[in-house]
């Protein structure tokens, strides 16, 4: 009996891991936080979410068709859906539909496919899209609303929601500022941090997610749950999230100790904005973060520190997206300097001394 001459070398057994499984697990981890926020922000958020995810999948398909590649298995790997999902989670929940579509163009076409598709892009596609939208359409991208849970009185119904998402007008009386935005505006108007924070939900509500914010970022608790699930599933490790949140917390605490009227405290910083979402789901993006654990610690540290600096000193109230993109650009260099020590060699690459003891 003759069997096809094997040309592939060993191994002839393989782990069950696959790209599709990884992406699906991440999406699964996002479900609780997303479901909660869709409920919290009602139909407009549901529409925007659907449009964004759908547009990303469509763009991926389009790019594959244009470049003459097969739709499958690439479209089935789930990466475009995940990008769309993350992008949607960082949009203002009642933003008009075209932010989602345009975001998909930025994320998938310009952020990913132009570089050659999955694995080739230097920058996190969702963050590229988010920043591009923010810079181009500052008003639409900073129109926040207070929580208006589905089916509550005063919450827009299905048809009103269609008007909001596809008509582009948020009716009066719904808008609200994010915590970070409020503090920033307050500071610019001469209010102290403690005065601004006094007008905000307490830390408990912030942690639970009962606050204004992006479509999927408000519940630190549910995002933490999803993140821990990913760590448990070994999709990510603790390095990036711990380094990022730890750095952000420490930097904010130090700032707050030095000048409590100018800087918010550590707990406020990590519970507001996209800190948790960024730490567990965005800065951990495989493609755009370093591959070694040491590199990931440095990367997380950088994202945390830059987030605090941008939030505290730059014109924008939120800095996670910028911080991630800045650190993305350093990833190749971090990778180069944080390669593991080779067996039998010193860190510098020389063979170990003959006695062999480390």
């Amino acid at each position: 009996m003759m069997i096809e001459t094997a040309t592939t070398s060993a191994p002839y057994t393989h782990s069950a891991a696959s790209v599709q499984k990884t992406m699906t697990t991440v999406i699964l981890a996002l479900v609780p936080a997303t479901a909660f926020n869709l409920y919290l922000f009602g139909w407009p958020a549901v529409f925007l979410f659907a449009v964004t995810v759908g547009a990303c999948a469509a763009m991926e398909g389009l790019a594959l068709l244009i470049s003459g590649r097969r739709l499958m298995p690439t479209l089935g790997d789930g990466s475009a859906v995940l990008t769309g999902w993350l992008l949607a989670m960082t949009l203002p929940p009642w933003a008009p539909w075209w932010t989602g579509v345009l975001g998909a163009v930025f994320a998938i076409l310009l952020g990913k496919q132009i570089f050659g598709g999955l694995g080739q892009n230097l920058f996190n596609p969702a963050m590229v899209a988010r920043v591009a939208l923010l810079v181009s359409f500052p008003v639409a991208m900073t129109s926040w609303v207070a929580p208006h849970p589905l089916f509550w009185t005063g919450t827009p119904g299905f048809l009103d929601a269609l008007a909001i998402t596809f008509g582009g007008q948020i009716p009066d009386g719904y808008s609200a500022a994010t915590a970070l935005g409020l503090v920033k505006t307050g500071l610019s108007m001469g209010q102290t941090v403690s005065q601004s924070v006094g007008q905000l939900p307490d830390l408990m509500d912030m942690g639970l997610g009962l606050r204004a914010g992006s479509l999927g970022e408000t519940s630190a608790l549910l995002i933490l749950g999803g993140g821990l699930f990913l760590i448990w599933k070994k999709v990510i490790t603790w390095h990036v999230p711990a380094a990022m949140l730890g750095t952000l917390f420490v930097a904010a605490t130090l700032g707050h100790l030095a000048n409590p009227e100018r800087f918010t405290d550590g707990a406020f910083q990590i519970l507001s904005g996209a800190a948790f979402l960024g730490a567990f789901f965005i800065a951990t993006d495989y493609v755009t973060s370093p591959v070694s654990k040491t590199g990931q610690l440095i990367f997380g540290f950088g994202v945390g520190l830059l987030t605090w600096i941008i939030r505290s000193f730059a014109g924008y109230p939120e800095g996670v997206a910028f911080a991630v993109l800045l650190m993305n650009s350093l990833t190749p260099i971090i990778d180069q300097y944080t390669r593991p020590r080779r067996f039998g060699r010193t860190r510098r690459g020389e063979p170990l001394a003959p006695q062999g003891d480390k």
């Binding site: 009996m1 003759m2 069997i3 001459t5 094997a6 040309t7 592939t8 070398s9 060993a10 191994p11 002839y12 057994t13 393989h14 782990s15 069950a16 891991a17 696959s18 790209v19 499984k21 990884t22 298995p73 690439t74 790997d77 990466s79 598709g117 999955l118 694995g119 080739q120 495989y286 493609v287 755009t288 973060s289 370093p290 591959v291 070694s292 654990k293 990931q296 990778d335 390669r339 593991p340 020590r341 080779r342 067996f343 039998g344 060699r345 063979p351 170990l352 001394a353 003959p354 006695q355 062999g356 003891d357 480390k358």
Partner: protein, 494 residues
């Protein structure tokens, strides 16, 4: 007793239960044996017999040549039918010279070399001679002539012999069975080897997924204070020499050195058993235990097979195949060789014959690297597989070389784990092959260059001498002898 951590590694599905409870059974003598002359690393053996000749069991039929080589022996008595080319159990599917032996069923032994009455006090050289004559090679799969490794103690002070009973490859249970069924022979062989090496200590490392083997070996070793049996954690590739030594001693073998340079020589447990047979009874290596397993094998077994037995006979002895296997492998699934067909003979390094179905191999179409970092985290050698592969893909062999591709063990952990199913080891094997060829070419070129340069120098010198002579002649002609410049060798004031 402390154990030390080794870097990275994986936990594949071991599937050892398919064969681990099957006691070693002898294969009924096949109708024909095909004994390859080149079953080991090093120079092929030189043929000693011719077609038509009768040979006796254990008779040397091919002799080792050169310092790294091994002889081959007749596994049973019978007639040499021919000396011909047969398909070798190697991926290439190339053919190699084999002695085709038709057993006569008499099992008549040839006179054997005189065994050592008390090997533990004998001269190390006497042990090495018997091991060399017995044609013993590393039986874990590498098939490196064992006697060469028994010489490592002659120039160095060794502290220990490490006996490799890790058997970290999935499916394989031959070492497990040998340790369970013949712990006395293994430990005796180990003590003989340690004596030949001048190593005062024997440490036997066994992965702790083999509790019966651990128990049998520990019981047997109890009588010998210099022999320690130690469980090591199940972590592929624990059976890699350098990693096993590190796990047991905490010592890390420096790059480009041998474990012997840090005081430890590693041998496989089945090799120890073979050495026991050779030194105590003068018996050559003519049979070995082969694990035949995989879900495409009807009834997996551990078979004591004569060297040269056709793999088909082993498979038949296991009830044949179930369906068409996706892969046929010689050795373990992580580092084994793909078999071009079942029509190949068992060689001394055949630890396993696996017939795997598609579900077991889990092969899938490769996708793009998603930079997940898994390969970096698990590489036991601290390499960066994704970067090396990226360099090799663009044919930047120097780039891959700088990242240490030549230090890759080809252990397969990275390929196993890659979620994109990238055949990383394939890239590395290719690069290692190319780099070796390049290095050989460079050395050759260098040699040629030196020769050419020497030749040119010689020619230039000759030409210069001629010119000088001509000039001298001309000068001598034109000027009176008195004006002649003194030649260097002449004392100036002559």
């Amino acid at each position: 007793m402390k154990l030390f951590a080794i870097r990275g590694g994986i936990h594949p599905e071991y599937r050892k239960e398919l064969a681990s409870d099957k006691a070693i059974t002898a294969l009924p003598m096949p109708q024909r044996l095909r004994i390859l002359l080149h079953q080991h690393i090093g120079a092929p053996a030189r043929l000693l017999v011719a077609a038509g000749e009768r040979v006796l069991k254990g008779q040397m039929i091919a002799q080792g040549q050169g310092p790294v080589s091994a002889p081959a022996h007749a596994p049973t008595s019978g007639y040499i039918e021919s000396v011909s080319e047969v398909t070798a159990p190697h991926a290439s599917g190339l053919s190699q010279t084999a002695v085709v032996l038709v057993p006569d069923g008499k099992e008549e032994w040839a006179p054997l070399p005189t065994p050592l009455a008390d090997p533990l006090t004998a001269e190390p050289q006497a042990i090495r001679d018997l091991v060399a004559q017995a044609g013993i090679v590393g039986m874990g799969g590498a098939a490196f002539p064992s006697v060469v490794k028994l010489h490592l103690g002659t120039q160095r002070k060794l502290e220990m012999l490490v006996l490799n009973g890790a058997e970290c490859e999935p499916y394989l249970t031959c070492d497990d069975r040998v340790m369970r069924e013949h712990p006395d022979e293994v430990i005796d062989g180990a003590r003989i080897m340690a004596h030949a090496l001048g190593a005062p200590l024997v440490i036997i490392g066994i992965e702790d997924n083999k509790p019966e083997a651990l128990e049998a070996m520990t019981r047997e070793a109890a009588a010998f204070p210099e022999v320690q049996v130690r469980p090591v954690p199940v972590q592929y590739p624990m059976g890699s020499e350098r990693h096993l030594v590190q796990a047991l001693t905490g010592r890390e073998t420096p790059a480009a050195k041998l474990t012997a340079d840090i005081g430890a020589v590693v041998h496989n447990v089945a090799t120890a058993q073979a050495i026991h047979h050779a030194v105590r009874f003068g018996r050559p290596l003519i049979e070995r235990v082969v694990t035949v397993s995989g879900r495409a094998v009807r009834e997996p077994r551990n078979i004591l097979a004569p060297i040269g037995a056709p793999v088909t006979a082993l498979i038949d002895f296991c009830g044949g195949l179930v369906g068409v296997p996706a892969r046929l492998v010689q050795g373990g699934p992580m580092m084994g060789q793909p078999l071009p067909s079942l029509d190949v003979p068992v060689i001394k390094g055949t630890s396993g014959i696996l017939a795997l179905n598609a579900e077991e191999t889990g092969e899938a179409e490769p996708g793009p690297c998603i930079r997940c970092g898994t390969c970096v985290a698990i590489c036991p050698c601290g390499l960066v597989p994704l970067e090396m592969a990226a360099f090799i893909r663009t044919d930047n062999l120097d780039g891959a070389n700088n990242l240490g591709v030549t230090e890759c063990l080809s252990c397969g952990s990275c390929s196993w784990a890659c979620p994109s199913h990238i055949p990383l080891v394939q890239y590395f094997n290719y690069a290692k092959g190319m780099l070796k060829t390049k290095e050989r070419d460079r050395a050759k070129h260098e040699r040629t260059k030196t020769l050419t340069e020497a030749h040119r120098d010689r020619l230039e010198r000759a030409a210069a001498a001629k010119a000088a002579a001509a000039a001298a002649k001309a000068t001598t002609k034109g000027t009176p002898p008195a004006a002649r410049q003194p030649r260097a060798e002449e004392p100036a004031e002559a």
